[in-house]
Symmetry: C3
Subunit: 148 residues, 3 copies
């Protein structure tokens, strides 16, 4: 089914995420709240984090072991303290955090349908902190959609 | 050249893809059909798949060996049955499918120009099934554009 | 703070990048110029490159060693001339360029706020040439936003 909607509107907002160091923070609740507040019902929600050492991703949201495995895989793929890396002013996790951020991305576009994020049953949206230490991360949301 | 267009409209649609197990399904034809039906001529087409074990990507579309090499590369990078992975309820390809989906992404934004997807000569849009078994995958399209 | 803006407009433009072979070209200046010319102030800027052997990414922009480390990491991860690859008509960097392009992506969506790209302090937007030889790369920009 194709639905054609009138004029698109834009609603912008942002929030901060306090991380506890390397690990995942689920964003679904905050994204759904921003979407509800926007009043928009059909379109896209663009989510962006303004950093180079964390990332945004969609991951299986039912079994927490998936995120543990994901962290183990990336820890092996991009080793902290790898002598290949010369940029280490902030420690052995400095450059690996940049590589992990680039491999997984800082920008996500999500479909909006019937006033809801149109995620699949098993999809969750996460901010992935790649630095060992806690950080405050800024997330910008831009919803482009129709209210009707 | 910069072109400035009037009011943006939004057209949404979706379709299902039946995969035959691990491998690539070209989506260009279905995306072009959705775009033609939308009547929109300038803007973006956002494509999203609602799963965590397949992905959407842009790949060279002329030589099928590119996709074979790509599959070989990822099979070696993210090994099925790797003992690192503890999430294996659905088999040795379960967690590798999640990792491959995250490394390549489930969301693509494509430019629309003159009523066509503005892909490069060698660019094709593919859904990449990462599970060994066939699956039915849902793809959502959101076109934001101008009709004039 | 949530801001709700009226009707979205669309402004499209494009430019070419001459690369000197494998390496990074910062795009921030050209993107900011396109945004200024658009007159749009709140929304998103979608950037896309029409090729399968270069990519677009956001990377730390202060220390050039980060980009050197990134290149070293990817050169090791996806080896030129790897006998795994059969698609080598254009040389040992042919298939690795496709893999690197897919791992890092050809499409970026960036938030626009107050008429500026809302990048973080350390974020720069780069085109990453993955081929050894110089190429001319086309970049398409689609800005969807409100002028008020």
């Amino acid at each position: 089914m194709t639905r054609s909607l009138p004029t698109a509107c834009i609603v912008t907002s942002s929030f901060e995420v306090r991380t506890r160091g390397r690990g995942f923070v689920e964003l679904d609740g905050r994204l759904r709240a921003a979407l509800a507040e926007s009043g928009l019902r059909e379109g896209i929600a663009q989510v962006f984090t303004q950093h180079t050492s964390c990332s945004l991703l969609i991951c299986e949201n039912a079994d927490p072991v998936v995120r543990e495995d994901l962290e183990r895989f990336f820890s092996r793929l991009v080793r902290d303290g790898d002598p290949l890396f010369r940029h280490d002013a902030e420690g052995p996790d400095d450059m690996p955090a940049h590589v992990r951020s680039i491999l997984t991305g800082v920008s996500l576009s999500l479909p909006v349908r019937n006033g809801e994020l149109a995620l699949g049953t098993w999809q969750g949206v996460y901010l992935w902190e790649h630095r060992a230490a806690p950080h405050t991360r800024k997330v910008c949301i831009t919803i482009i959609g129709s209210g009707s």
